[in-house]
């Protein structure tokens, strides 16, 4: 607790005073940096905000950089050349923006915003004026010519239309689907070709994973007799999450952070919830509403807890995957931000070493989180289909 508060002050002081000179980098500073990193990874929101408010034009805004990397975006931004100069150039893959407005379907390419996400660039399409404010598209109210932002940066004179845009997360999701289909269709064809069902090529890589999901996840969690029905869902979820976790770690894709997006995890958690609820047998519902084997007052006491439990299970699934993946991204980006916060090349080796370390952990986490999501889904299915044996 002492160490933490000490570092809070040090870190805040560093930020307020400005720059830590390279000459003053001593061992103790290094130690402090380490703690600061840990700290920043947890509380990056608040502190980055301080930096933003107190800074001049040159000030590096860690929070906005991190948030822009972690959140969704309309274009697939690869790199910015000559930043801050006359011939500044963005290399971006433009993606389609699809909106449902009062005037019907409106589509245009994300490149029409010219890499602006502060609401300056106004795109006029289909009788509406659209601006991009922090990667959210707003439609200006009739008669307005420029977007007005309130103190928190939200537009006051614009509405959000229904947004079906192919954002970079959707784009990456489709790429991951293409890769998954390629891998598993090829693997499946390998079996068809071989006369004795012996795996070869990519099938021999895929098979242990599939068998792992079957023997280590589905069978023990659901049971020998009922697991077959749930295999397609479990396998699909496992590989879909895993491959998107991996894609999220590829730096050149600019951290398209699909599995760290709460929309994605929410959809998967809802699927698990729906399947659990619909496969719940008499025994399952009995355990929720009228717990057998306990006295009546206890039954009455347990019922509301169990009913809440139906919903907390998928919610925990949703938050666990989202938070783990997003936290990993934030930590790596925060470590990298240190170089720019301290404006010192001397920090770079530390930052790189630490992000390499975290990066390796993240590689393990990609598989672990996919496994945990699948195991817990299977566990819930198992609980829903368990037969009474009291």
């Amino acid at each position: 607790m002492f160490v933490n508060s000490f570092n809070v002050r040090t870190f805040a002081a560093n930020l307020k005073e400005g720059i830590l000179k390279p000459q003053r980098m001593t061992l103790s500073t290094l130690k402090r940096t380490v703690f600061t990193v840990l700290f920043l990874s947890v509380f990056s929101f608040g502190f980055a905000k301080d930096a933003k408010e107190g800074g001049d034009d040159e000030k590096f805004d860690a929070k906005s950089m991190i948030m822009h990397h972690v959140k969704d975006a309309y274009g697939m931004h690869i790199i910015t050349l000559n930043e801050g100069k006359e011939d500044e150039k963005h290399i971006t893959i433009p993606l389609p923006v699809i909106l449902w407005t009062d005037n019907g379907l409106t589509t245009f390419m994300s490149s029409e915003f010219h890499h602006d996400y502060h609401g300056h660039e106004i795109v006029e399409k289909n009788g509406g004026k659209f601006v991009n404010v922090h990667e959210k598209i707003y439609q200006l109210n009739a008669g307005e010519t420029a977007v007005k932002l309130d103190e928190e940066g939200h537009p006051t004179n614009a509405e959000m239309p229904l947004d079906f845009s192919i954002t970079r997360n959707v784009f990456m999701m489709w790429i991951s689907v293409a890769v998954l289909l390629l891998i598993f269709f090829t693997a499946a064809r390998r079996y068809k070709k071989s006369s004795d069902n012996v795996p070869s090529g990519i099938a021999s890589f895929v098979e242990p994973l599939v068998v792992f999901v079957r023997d280590e996840i589905a069978k023990p969690m659901i049971g020998e007799h009922k697991y077959k029905k749930y295999m397609p869902y479990l396998l699909t979820v496992f590989f879909f999450i895993w491959i998107n976790n991996i894609f999220g770690l590829i730096p050149i894709l600019n951290g398209a952070n699909l599995s760290g997006n709460i929309a994605f995890t929410m959809v998967l958690a809802i699927f698990t919830f729906i399947i659990t609820t619909f496969s719940g047998n008499k025994n399952y519902w009995k355990h929720i509403f009228w717990m057998p084997g306990v006295p009546v007052p206890m039954k009455i006491f347990l019922a509301p807890i169990e009913i809440i439990g139906i919903f907390t299970k998928p919610i925990s699934l949703m938050i666990r995957l989202f938070a783990n993946i997003t936290a990993g991204h934030i930590i790596i980006l925060a470590l990298m931000s240190l170089i720019f916060i301290f404006k010192s090349v001397a920090v770079a080796p530390v930052s790189v070493a630490f992000s390499l370390f975290i990066g390796i952990i993240e590689i393990v986490v990609t598989a672990i989180q996919a496994y945990i999501f699948t195991v817990l889904s299977a566990l819930y299915f198992g609980m829903a289909t368990e037969e009474a044996h009291h």
Binding site: M67, I98, A188, Y191, V206
Partner: protein
């Protein structure tokens, strides 16, 4: 707090994409892969079971062989033993028979000798009697003609009739 607000567009596309992915993978990937894997596992299980059966059969066969061999050996021994007994019996029987026959022959011979001896004795007796009578006759005759002669005759006669 945008971070924890699910965006509508992404939710929409994720649902559609996931359902399509689930459908496609289920039909064209999981079914063939899991089918092939379980088919192969069944095959392996069957092969193992049949190997086990074959092993058991083999064991049975071996046990049978062993048993048959044992029986054959026992039979041979029994036969040898029988043969030996029969031989001994035969020899013993032959011996006793021979003994019996020999003793019967001896008995017969003895009986014959006895009867011959009796007959000879009887004949001898009758001869002796006849001779005695003859002697007596001659003696009587000589007696009757000349006394000296008669005596001499008797003495001669007696001298002739040496009993052997």
């Amino acid at each position: 707090m945008d971070l924890i607000k699910p965006g509508f567009g992404l939710v929409f596309w994720t649902i559609i994409t996931f359902l399509i992915l689930l459908f496609l993978l289920r039909k064209f990937a999981w079914k063939p892969i899991l089918g092939a894997v379980s088919e192969r596992e069944e095959g392996i299980k069957e092969a193992l079971a049949s190997a086990e059966n074959a092993r058991k059969e083999m064991e049975n066969l071996q046990a049978d062989n062993e048993r048959i061999l044992q029986e054959a050996r026992a039979e041979r021994e029994a036969m040898l033993k029988d043969a030996r007994e029969i031989r001994e019996q035969t020899i013993a029987k032959a011996e006793t028979e021979a003994q019996e026959k020999a003793s019967k022959i001896i008995e017969k011979a003895q009986a014959a000798i006895e009867s011959e001896k009796k007959a000879a004795m009887a004949e001898l007796k009758s001869h002796v009697a006849g001779l005695s009578l003859d002697i007596a006759e001659k003696v009587v005759r000589n007696e009757l003609s000349n006394k000296d002669k008669q005596l001499k005759l008797v003495e001669d006669m007696l001298g002739e009739a040496t009993l052997k």
